[in-house]
Amino acid sequence: MTLFHFGNCLALAYFPYLIVYKNSKLSEYNSFWSCVKAGGVYMLTQLCKMIVLATFFPTYEVPEGKIDLHGELMKGAVELFDLIGIFVIISQQIGRGDLKILVAGVGWATAELVSMRLLPLWVGARGIEFSWQYIQLSFEANISLVHHIIMAVLIWMWTRNNIEKSVLPLIISLLFICSSKQTLLELVGTMFHVSSFGILGINVIVTLLVGLITTQLYVNLCIQDNAWGNPKYH
């Protein structure tokens, strides 16, 4: 609506990232450049995804109201590249488990914020015309921060050797949900004509649920590692 509105949206989107960065291990270990490198991996992954999409999945003309189910599923499949990207970051990163996770999650999410959300905000939120979508976009940035940290946790856990075999399928299914969450939300949104705030709400609930389960698994794994009790880990 005005520059003030733009400032509001930017604050809403970006300050949580800053808060997480400053108050976690990231600032202790001065891992700013690690996060930037993680951001670079993100850009590369997006590039690969775009090339794959353009080459192998041509777009069909979709009539208004109908959904190109085939196309959407294909696009969802390409999202798996994200998992590979985060895996690359985690394996490259030197440090303990939770640092790796934080670097991957925060770096990835920040790169997404800068590349996908900043421009629409700059162009749109400053205009005279008001639309709720900018506040929604900023709030989505928050959700994606949590979401990517969760994804990083899940991938890290998957790479560990000393987890129980029974938990592995759960992790894989959670990962699958995470990577396809965006596609599923869009499908649900168009099929049931949910308002944009509704989609946001569903997004929050799904992310919270996945987050709780992931936290539980993570805590179990840390206990197995005896990580918390170990003074070296604090």
């Binding site: 808060i19 162009v123 805590v219």
Partner: protein, 544 residues
């Protein structure tokens, strides 16, 4: 490989820098809706201003009955404004008024049209500081209009709490125009003239037939003026055709020269005719002499509806050309269409009024005998200057044209025999031609402020008159630079944009909400290690 990578990265880098610059300089305006609007008239005659003086719009929309209209844009539809309310809006200095008119004006009732004519007169009586725009009804504008009408806004909220609630739910609309300030244009007035001469070589007596062809309405683009004076022009062209037929028989060609004059400044106090007359008489040209010596000048102004009157400046005395023309008209009427009687209405020229009442007064003040034929009984008749003059009564126009043609023929041939009708059988007006001419004229833009030398209407007149009459000349008059007799202004058509806006307080509340949320996030993040330790200890306890 490395070189190509280098090149790629360099081009990417330059792309990104250009992209960033372009984006940073992009205007921060995303208009969801725009619509075309037509501004009210703005012109001045003899240094006297008329109409709307400004075109600035950057105001919040309000409905007609809003409490506060100062510096707001008032939206209204044509039917819901009363004369008093319009006066109030102007007195309260409304920033801008946007009036939506129906696409199909024939759906309006006569009451609505009459009411609107009165409102138009209020708008035109004094120059207004409010920018007044007209637009055709369209769906999005209607939506805005209804929301603004029924929604609450901060101007009149019942309680503070209600005002707070409104802050989040209300939808305000800002109407904006990005046009430059209206500037004076270099427009001109035009006349089209033609002379029908007899073959005799001595100086012949002459008469003149005059009609103005420009249109007038509250906004130049909306003016159709089918009756005033599309009907007059169509009639003049048909009469020219019939008279040229009469003159084509060398044996019985009448002794008079006839001058046809179509002038383009009729609604502007007949300025084109006046200028034409002044210049011709000053320059001693043959037409000037012809006109100043003319026995009679007959002006045709709106004959497309029922009723026929001849307006003169003084009662014609028997034996004068004016009286002769009057009798010719009355004879023609009684011969051709006995149901139609022509009223003779004398009215003295009111020199105190800057605006002349009828076209013939231009000539009578120069002591040339003249009169105006019109279906309106008075120069102040309602509907004479209105914007919804879109239809004529075809049969009335036909009959009136026939009567006038017959009367002129009788006058120039000096016939007063009751048994002869000059224009009958084959030589009668062509009704289809008349209808087509009026239809063409009413859909062609003829507002004086918009006319150019190559405007379709001037070409039409030139060509049509040229079919029957030789020596068709188009004259152009520019206003003199030092003391312009008339001045037109541009920016008659514009694009208006509507933006959905929230009140300023909304931003403040949003900022507070974001601040509170960030505080919560901060506290949560701070508490994560503590929570994790707690969870760990809980699990440890359970497992041990």
């Amino acid at each position: 490989m490395l070189e190509t990578l280098n090149d790629v990265s360099r081009s990417l880098g330059s792309f990104w820098s250009i992209f960033t610059i372009v984006v940073l300089c992009a205007p921060a305006a995303i208009a969801v809706h725009e619509f075309t609007a037509y501004r009210m008239n703005q012109y001045s005659i003899s240094n006297r201003d008329y109409g709307c003086k400004t075109n600035m719009v950057n105001f919040e929309a309000r409905s007609v009955n809003a409490n506060v209209v100062t510096r707001r844009c008032v939206l209204m539809s044509m039917g819901e404004i009363s004369v008093d309310r319009m006066r109030e809006l102007i007195a309260h200095k409304a920033g801008s008024i946007l009036i939506s008119i129906p696409q199909n004006t024939s759906s309006l009732t006569q009451d609505e049209i009459d009411n609107w004519n009165e409102v138009e007169e209020v708008l035109m009586e004094q120059p207004v500081d409010t920018s007044v725009f007209f637009t055709y009804e369209q769906p999005h504008l209607n939506d805005i209009y209804h929301e603004v009408k029924t929604g609450l806004n901060s101007d009149h909220a019942a309680t503070a709490a209600a005002a707070l609630g409104n802050v989040f739910h209300s939808n305000g609309y800002q109407i904006v125009s990005y046009d430059a300030v209206p500037a004076p244009t270099k427009s001109s007035l035009y006349t089209v003239q033609g002379k029908l001469s007899t073959l005799s070589r001595e100086t012949n007596p002459s008469i003149a037939i005059v009609a103005h062809f420009d249109s007038f309405g509250i906004s130049p683009h909306l003016a159709k003026s089918a009756n005033g004076n599309g009907s007059g022009v169509a009639a003049l062209l048909e009469i020219a055709r019939l008279l040229s037929k009469l003159y084509s028989h060398p044996g019985n060609a009448p002794k008079y020269d006839i001058l046809f004059l179509l002038s383009g400044g009729g609604k502007l106090n007949y300025l084109a005719s006046k200028t034409w007359l002044d210049k011709r008489m000053a320059s001693d040209s043959p037409e000037g002499a012809m006109l100043s010596e003319a026995e009679y000048v007959l002006c045709i102004d709106s004959i497309g509806k029922s009723g026929l009157n001849i307006h003169v400046s003084k009662q014609p005395k028997p034996g004068t050309p004016a009286h002769q023309m009057l009798s010719a008209l009355q004879e023609a009427a009684s011969l051709l269409y006995p149901n139609i009687t022509i009223q003779n209405i004398p009215k003295k020229v009111n020199l105190g009024n800057p605006l002349l009442a009828w076209h013939h007064e231009i000539f009578t003040v120069k002591r040339i005998s003249a009169g105006t034929i019109s279906n309106y009984p008075s120069h102040t008749s309602l509907g004479r200057l209105n914007s919804f003059d879109t239809h004529v009564d075809g049969s009335s126009m036909y009959k009136h044209t026939h009567i006038i043609a017959e009367a002129i023929a009788r006058y120039v041939s000096n016939v007063s025999d009751d048994s002869i009708t000059i224009f009958s059988d084959y030589a009668v007006p062509n009704g289809a031609m008349l209808d087509r001419s009026v239809e063409f004229l009413s859909r062609t833009n003829r507002a004086a402020v918009l006319l150019q030398r190559d405007s379709p209407v001037i070409s039409f007149l030139e060509q049509t008159l040229g079919k029957y009459i030789s020596e068709v000349i188009v004259s152009e008059f520019k206003a003199s630079k030092k003391d312009p007799e008339f001045q037109f202004y541009d920016q008659t058509e514009t694009k208006l944009f509507s933006y959905n806006v929230k009140p300023a307080v909304f931003d403040l509340f949003l900022a507070i909400a974001v601040f509170v949320y960030l505080g919560a996030v901060y506290l949560f993040v701070k508490s994560v290690p503590v929570m994790m330790t707690y969870a760990y200890q809980l699990r440890k306890l359970k497992s041990s």
